[in-house]
Amino acid sequence: MINKIIQTPAEAVADVFNGATVMISGFGEAGSPIELIHALIDKGARDLVVISNNTGSGHVGLAALIENRQVRKMICSFPRSTNSKVFPELYKRGEIELELVPQGTLAERIRAGGAGIPAFFTPTSVGTPLAEGKEVREFNGQLFVMEHAIRADFALVKCHAADRYGNLVYNKTARNFGPVMCTAAETAIVQARKVVEPGQIDPEAVVTPGIFVKRVVEVTNPADESKLVAEERRYPW
């Protein structure tokens, strides 16, 4: 029988190794798998390359992972925000690497990684510093930059509901990068607000088909990151 349900976040991330490439879903707080990230902090894997749109807020979740010095390099589109202090400080001290990628190019490079497309051409960033050193080519009189696929060893993703096959649905704008990240990682690990029986998710409404998911862990009441940030909480607590 296929059963991808894992009992705890700790078990779900137990094999994340030093030096692994890890995709982390979320756009700001929405969709960020905070319990899985905290389990990864407990686990202590180091020298990680993390692919995520942002760099976290306050001293919890992704920001705490960075603060705990487990991340060697960030690949993201927007490493700056109101409550983002950890990454900027390390970056200014030259203690963390950054690959800055336009948001749509980031999403498409991840999708390509999941879809077996090693490279594609995009109009985004032509003529800008982010296209420097990249192949530029003309199609129908317009210039395009060649971008390469991104794949990862692991993806940590938050969703709304999942079944034992790994079929997922998300909640509103917390969907964001989760679906493409599940396709592009060797091992996609998902935290779901609820686990349901196969068939309870409408087969027409499944967003991530189970084939893309390796592990599901139920986290019924995930932490509200903005509250933790407002309360100036720090992980590990």
Partner: protein
């Protein structure tokens, strides 16, 4: 008798209003973070406009009433928003299919500099010590059909923002279609910059003095 004789030009609200008047019924629109967000509240009644936010929502509605915020229903500026009946959610690759694939009609963005050929710089001052952050700006200017820029005409220190050639790192080359400043509305055309409208009290000379690039008048 007349107050504020020294104060020439539109207020931010009026600038946003000018943009809003140029958004036609039925348009699909993406509003950048900050001042552009004001535009949605100012579109004339009777026009139905669909707002896209690149983090995965088409059919973004107004801000929620206090106490009804949902941290999983946010816009690109990470503010809580609402969704209209007929909205839909999608993942990031699908969202940027809308952007890069030229499905969105209008994007309204802020600017650091705009060149006379429509180059836009709005993501970095090139300061070595700053944390670079680009977000979706490069995708938006490369993919959206019409790019409106809304910006003060000059910097806080009085330097022109509308220049012959941008000195800041570009967001995109030849992408801007129209500029809305506190002093004027200016079209970017293959023949150069053409002034569409000036704020009360602004003259062509006054405007040109505050603009590095050459300005032209429609006949």
């Amino acid at each position: 008798m007349v107050n504020n004789t020294e104060k020439i030009g539109w207020e931010v609200q009026e600038m946003a209003q000018k943009v809003a008047l140029d958004i036609p019924d039925g348009a699909y629109v993406n509003l950048g973070i900050g001042i552009p967000e004001m535009v949605s509240g100012l579109v004339p009644e009777g026009r139905e406009v669909i707002y896209h936010t690149e983090n995965g929502l088409l059919g973004m509605g107004p801000l929620p009433p206090a106490g009804e915020e949902d941290p999983e229903l946010i816009n690109a500026g990470k503010k809580c928003v609402t969704a209209i009946p007929g909205a839909c959610y999608f993942h990031h690759a699908d969202s940027f299919t809308m952007i890069r694939g030229k499905h969105i009609d209008i994007c309204v963005l802020g600017a650091l500099q705009i060149s006379e050929s429509g180059d836009l710089a709005n993501w970095s001052t090139g300061d070595e010590k700053a944390i670079p952050a680009v977000g979706g700006a490069m995708d938006l200017v490369a993919g959206v059909k019409t790019i409106f820029v809304i910006s003060k005409h000059v910097t806080k220190t009085g330097e022109p923002k509308i220049v012959k050639s941008c000195t800041y790192p570009l967001t995109g080359k030849a992408v801007v279609d129209r500029i809305y400043t506190d002093l004027a509305i200016i079209d970017v055309t293959p023949k150069g910059l053409f002034v569409r409208e000036m704020a009360p009290g602004v003259t062509m000379d006054y405007l040109q003095e505050r603009t590095e690039a050459a300005l032209h008048q429609y006949e």
